[in-house]
């Protein structure tokens, strides 16, 4: 693996007699989103503040590209600081500035942009976060969710290289929560920034993160990919994740990924024990990013929600559909072979129409919503992993709508 962008080495931080961080070691890699999970009060925010230099460790060090932050000269630190952006848990919006001035502040103070450019950039960020006509309002006049999105807009307006998010979605409704996640993921793909997210949103953060680290009792007790964290045998991690996971996906209302995986395992067991065949269908929304770009992330997530609802309404009681990934819904069809699964897809494509997906106000020109389907049938000697990789490969567009 490459050299880490940020390394945290044996960081210890105590407040009085309370040692919050007790020898934390963590590596953050360039261009990846790393999520730090863990129970409340375990020092996740404190760790994040060490990375940006708001707090200094009692012992241990934080290195940026192999160089310790403390040994950097003032100018070097200045250059480094401008690469960072921080989304505070409690938003930390300036209460004496209005929304526009809040978002424009980092541009006005640190860049040579002219006023019209700043205005455009601020407007652009506000619209991407589904915020309209609030430029002249003060933070105290906004709801909690709106403040959160204004804070996000302020953090992203400078197009930073490294963004630290301290619980960016706490207090948001499910659609906006996933819209923010999808925006973070979308931005990361487009601009390749490095993201560090402190979050309790499980499993949502697994969809957008490349690495997960769990902080417990002042130390990192687990570090790995989202797949690894979900399959780990470590009882501490398992209990924490199970405790937070709901049986239903918050956005779409279909079953959650973990429930779907359990059902898949059960069907596999039934197949091996009772020779009952089953098929899986993976429905992927191919151009959710285009919808996000044209109509905004909220419209994108609403379309995904509508699509998931449509699928849920078109399956039998014995079938199950669950959220497999950020933009993927999987359907498990018991007692169904591959031909019948194909017929199920045909039925879906016949019944699906634009009105079911988009609200009339979002039917903007250039909007495209395409769904591809991959089908796989489980056979006696099938493994779940190979089935899943097959179903991911065998995708073809089965329904598309363009406006």
């Amino acid at each position: 693996m490459d050299q880490p962008l940020i390394e945290i080495e044996n960081v210890v931080k105590c407040f009085g007699s309370n040692c919050v961080l007790n020898g934390v070691n963590l590596s953050i890699y360039r261009g990846q989103i790393t999520s730090i999970i863990g129970q409340s009060g375990m020092g996740k925010s404190v760790l994040l503040k060490h990375i940006i230099g708001l707090l200094t460790p009692d012992s241990g060090r934080v290195l940026f590209e192999g160089k310790p932050l403390v040994s950097m000269k003032k100018d070097e630190r200045k250059v480094l600081k401008r690469k960072f952006s921080y989304v505070f848990q409690d938003t930390a919006l300036f209460d004496f500035l209005n929304v526009f001035e809040n978002i424009a502040l980092p541009l006005m103070e640190n860049t040579a942009h002219v006023e019209t450019q700043i205005k455009d950039r601020v407007q652009n960020k506000l619209h991407q976060l589904d915020l309209y006509d609030i430029e002249n309002k003060y933070p105290s006049q906004l709801s909690g969710g709106m403040k959160k999105r204004v804070a996000l807009a302020r953090a992203l307006v400078t197009d930073p290289e490294i963004v630290l998010f301290d619980e960016p979605t706490t207090g948001l409704d499910p659609i906006r929560k996933t819209a923010v996640h999808s925006m973070i993921s979308d931005y990361q793909k487009r601009f390749g920034f490095t993201g560090i997210i402190v979050s309790h949103e499980i499993p949502d953060v697994f969809f957008i993160s490349q690495r997960i680290a769990m902080l417990n009792e002042g130390q990192i007790c687990f570090e790995g990919s989202p797949e690894e964290v979900q399959q780990t045998a470590d009882p501490l991690v398992r209990n924490y994740i199970r405790g937070l996971e709901s049986p239903h996906d918050e956005l779409t209302g279909v079953a959650s990924q973990s429930l779907g995986q359990k059902r898949l395992t059960r069907e596999m067991f039934r197949l091996q024990r009772h020779h009952r065949p089953f098929s899986i269908v993976l429905l992927s929304v191919e151009n959710l990013e285009d919808v996000d770009r044209i109509a905004g992330h909220v419209a994108g997530q609403t379309a995904l929600k509508n699509f998931a609802n449509f699928v849920k309404n078109n399956i039998y009681l014995t079938d199950i559909c669950f959220r497999y990934d950020m933009n993927k819904i999987m359907v498990v069809l018991p007692d169904t072979d591959v031909d019948q699964a194909g017929m199920f897809c045909d039925k879906l494509s016949r019944n699906l129409d634009t009105d079911a997906i988009f609200n009339s106000s979002e039917q903007r020109k250039g909007l495209c919503f395409a769904v591809s389907a991959g089908i796989a049938q489980a056979r006696g000697n099938s493994q779940i992993e190979s089935m899943l990789s097959n179903v991911e490969k065998r995708q073809n567009i089965f329904w598309e709508c363009r406006i």
Binding site: K49, I52, L54, K78, K81, R82, F84, S85, Y86, F88, D90, A92, L93, F94, D95, F96, L105, P106, E109, N110, T158
Partner: protein, 266 residues
């Protein structure tokens, strides 16, 4: 716990408090100089300085006029009844003008600004500290001292002498009101005594005092708010503690500085 130590060994406690106080004063002086130097860093924050002049200076005009008028009136009254015993009511103008220009103008104008603007500064910056707004400035690579403190220092250094001048003028008119209009001292004599007794050195001495007071008030008030998070109390209580100590410490330091300056200027 601290109380126990103080009861058991008062000298140790006194020494400890003195050390902390002196250390704090040193930090406040450094804090002021940093803020002062950053006033001149480019680009100049003209708009922010003007806003603060409006807040510290303009909004204090009414209260300064009011207190100035009553101070002058009381001086006229007290001065008259003292001087009438010696048959020298003619020098009432000198007595009122010199006490105002040299002493009461700078001190009372500063105290009024502490009550109005200083407490507000400490509370505003303190709230920004506890709601992480100052941390947010740091993460954006905006120097919080330059952004928050420097405009206030510049505005105070400009506003204090002007408010002092206003206080003096209104006070002298107040003295005239009681001395001449109510108690019958010859108005021409009153004003000619004012003119002949107040030398340029008195006026410039008063201005030097007001500039020093401006530096003391603004640095103590901003400092107390800025370091709210290091207090023993947290949140709103921490802010109230900061505001209280900002007001008390600035008033005490102004009176101490006034004595020191007077002994140098006389």
């Amino acid at each position: 716990m601290e109380l126990l130590v103080a009861i058991k060994n008062p000298l140790v406690a006194l020494g400890r408090y003195t050390m902390v106080f002196v250390q704090d004063l040193g930090r406040i002086v450094l804090y002021f100089f940093k803020g002062f130097i950053l006033i001149f860093s480019l680009p100049l924050q003209v708009n922010k300085i003007l806003q603060q002049i409006y807040f510290i200076g303009m909004k204090s005009v009414f209260v300064v006029c009011l207190t100035g008028a009553f101070t002058g009136m009381v001086l006229g009254l007290q001065g008259y009844y003292l001087l009438v015993k010696y048959g020298s009511t003619g020098i009432l103008g000198s007595a009122v003008a010199l006490s105002l220009v040299r002493e009461m103008g700078p001190v009372l104008a500063a105290v009024m600004v502490i009550a109005r603007g200083g407490s507000a500064m400490a509370a505003e910056i303190g709230i920004m500290r506890i709601s992480e707004q100052i941390d947010a400035l740091e993460t954006m690579d905006i120097d919080p001292i330059r952004y928050l403190v420097s405009p206030r220092i510049a505005a105070a250094l400009i506003s204090f002498p002007l408010l002092t001048a206003l206080f003096d003028v209104v006070g002298i008119l107040g003295g005239y009101l009681t001395g001449s209009v109510l108690l019958g001292v010859n108005p021409e004599l009153y004003f000619s005594r004012v003119e002949s007794s107040v030398a340029l050195a008195d006026v410039s001495g008063g201005f030097i005092k007001s500039i020093v007071f401006a530096a003391i008030v603004v640095s103590i008030c901003c400092y107390q708010g800025f370091y709210t998070h290091t207090r023993t109390e947290f949140g709103a209580k921490g802010v109230s503690q900061s505001t209280t100590s900002a007001v008390v410490l600035s008033c005490v330091m102004i009176l101490i500085a006034d004595y020191a300056l007077t002994s140098f200027l006389l």
